[in-house]
Amino acid sequence: MDVILLQLLNGLDKGGAYALIALGLTLIFGTLGVVNFAHGALFMLGAFCAVTFNKLLSLEVVTMDPTKTTAWGSPMEIRTPYVEAMLGDFGTWMLNYSVPMSILLAVPVMLLIGFIMERGLIKHFYKRPHADQILVTFGLAIVLQEIIKAIYGANPIPQSAPELVRGAADIGSIFGFDPGVIVYPYWRMVYLAFAGAVIAAVFAFLQFTTFGMVVRAGMADRDTVGLLGINIERRFTVVFAIAAVVAGLAGVMYTPILPPDYHMGMDFLVLSFVVVVVGGMGSLPGAVAAGFLLGILQSFASMNEVKAILPGIDQIIIYLVAVVILLVRPRGLMGRKGVMEN
């Protein structure tokens, strides 16, 4: 029982990341009808917003301290980050909270990137075949990831969570299990709550605002909405930018869990596409459900007990589930009829 609960929890944070990326992918697909292979790259760009923010904050000023000397007798160099030198304790606090604070940087940056991408490139591909859309966004993903590689190098850059949430909680003891059995890092809880909040915000936005209503109408029947005199294209630009922000935020908050490197986007993209397809192309609740489902399944499959019976299952479980679901339920878990079948 306790083992199952632990695996359930472990699967949730990965599932949260899958769900967030898949949500954006589905949003773009459902409204714009574009298959965006560059969505993983947006996730990666978000993560590198956090890296950049942290690098900016930790720019250091070098001062000499004449009272102390090094082993060689020269004055000791003291390196203090500018923010600490200028803002004192608040600067230290900022450095500590650099990951959550980089959301402030990531939101405008991702909005801008999403806007430029849609207006500059995707817009011209609405009427082209899906194969062309896949190919051009695939090319874009390569370009984005190579640019990041050229700037930040090929090695992963670890980011640390704020000190307050750095450790792990023994949450098993709360529910009456033996202490030390179910230990779960605080940051993963934060991530989970964050993913839930973002998902809820996106759904609320689509469900309760006039803008969201138009977007939903556009997803259902784009031509009719256009005929009603609504400039659906402009809304779609905003939708694309929102999807980019969602992917970017997922990336920012994921940095303490997985040190970002340039190809993390591609790694997540393949899985997210599987998630989207399993959930059903064009179904937002399907994407979220499938994201968590596959995340949890993956963590169950990596249990030693399961691996003993079915060796290698942890490596292929996601793809296996995708194959089975696609063959048994061709439209995925919650897909609509007639979407993307030809």
Partner: protein, 378 residues
């Protein structure tokens, strides 16, 4: 896909192509590509892309998992070396058969769906094969180290046991390295190209194009497209397996990274770059990518400074800084940019570009032909 075809023209086309391929070491030497290792790569990846094109170019089914067949072909070739000996012919044969069976299994399942679902299914199968080759199947694939032929292997029909030095595939005494290896690959490519040409012109090929153009209409005429697409998928998988075998024949080592989805992406790139649905395009695209990969990744800041040495200093430094992003380690950036430009402006690939230029000349000489010689391929 020229509008006017006749058996005679096809033969002339094939003979010209064969001569061009066999004389490659001569006419590619001035551009720095006249050495056997690179020429072998041209042939092998040309074969791979030709096979991929038989599926994607004709039926429009975009497979994102073709590297799996390349990998299966490689592994079975190395195993044939290990068990039977270093002769490339049985290795190639076994590779074609196993990858064909593998393609039949995957194709039978994947082709039940079309569109992006098909792409995802093939991708899923390829990733499964890759992950398994790395983990559980290590006894067969030798995992991360890669599978190689060892001196202690049985090699039943091999006489070269006494010879020292590295084990190299040899065809009845001819070692498959250098130019011998290139000509072996070239002949295999020519045979494969000839078969591909026959398929393009056959009723079977026309059926496959019908699948791409309008599957509904095909269903209404009472034809079931699936046997045709499955046959195309299997043939395409066999081509990939053969290419994988050739990779091992020229260098007897098989690694799992050949099956990764980036490798599948590469063959898609080659085909699109050259022109999907054309006979020559994929080979052209493969050669171009391998050529630039070789040339560009060899550049470094030093050579760039030499190239731009004629510029004044204040210009030279920024120019070198910018171009160095695109060469050497950053060669993939060039590839990505090139690829995007092709998809955006020339969806039919370079072959469409050529035929556009060709039409431009025709028009200026008075004969305008607006029907379009090459239909833009997806």
């Amino acid at each position: 896909m020229t509008s006017k075809t006749s058996p005679m023209r096809d033969w002339i086309f094939f003979v010209v192509f064969a001569i061009a391929v066999l004389t490659m070491p001569i006419w590619l030497a001035p551009v720095g590509a006249g050495y056997p290792d690179l020429l072998q790569k041209f042939m092998i990846y040309g074969l791979f892309a030709t096979g991929f094109n038989l599926l994607f170019g004709l039926t429009g089914y975009l497979s994102f998992g073709h590297a799996a067949f390349l990998g299966v072909g490689s592994y079975s070739a190395v195993w044939t070396f290990k068990l039977l000996g270093m002769n490339p012919v049985p290795a190639a044969f076994v590779a074609v058969v196993t990858s064909g069976i593998f393609a039949l299994l995957i194709g039978y399942v994947s082709l039940r769906r079309s569109g992006i679902y098909f792409s995802i299914l093939t991708l899923a199968f390829a990733q499964m094969s890759y992950n398994l080759a790395y983990s559980v199947l290590t006894p067969i694939t030798n995992g991360e180290t890669g599978l190689r032929v060892l001196r202690s292997d049985p090699r039943l029909f091999d006489s070269s046991n006494a010879v020292d030095g590295p084990l190299i595939a040899n065809l009845f005494g001819i070692e498959m390295t250098g130019y011998a290896g290139f000509y072996f690959c070239a002949i295999v490519l020519l045979i494969a190209f000839f078969i591909a040409q026959r398929i393009f012109r056959s009723p079977f090929g026309i059926m496959l194009r019908a699948v791409k153009t309008n599957q509904n209409r095909m269903n209404y005429t009472g034809l079931n497209p699936r046997p045709y697409t499955l046959a195309a998928f299997v043939i395409s998988g066999m081509y990939a397996g053969l290419a994988g075998a050739l990779l091992c024949i020229t260098d007897p080592l098989a690694g799992a990274e050949r099956m990764q989805w980036t490798a599948s992406g590469e063959v898609v790139l080659m085909t699109i770059l050259g022109g999907a649905g054309t006979l020559l395009g994929p080979i052209f695209g493969a050669a171009l990518i391998k050529y630039f990969e070789n040339i560009f990744s060899a550049f470094n800041d030093q050579t760039l400074h030499e190239i731009f040495g004629f510029l004044p200093d204040f210009l030279e430094v920024p120019v070198v800084a910018v171009t160095s992003l695109f060469v050497g380690e950053g060669w993939h950036l060039t590839l990505g940019v090139l690829f995007m430009l092709i998809v955006i402006f020339l969806p039919g690939g370079l072959m469409e570009g050529f035929s556009r230029i060709g039409r431009l000349f025709k028009r200026s000489s008075g004969k305008s032909d607006s029907s379009g010689a090459a239909a833009p391929a997806e």
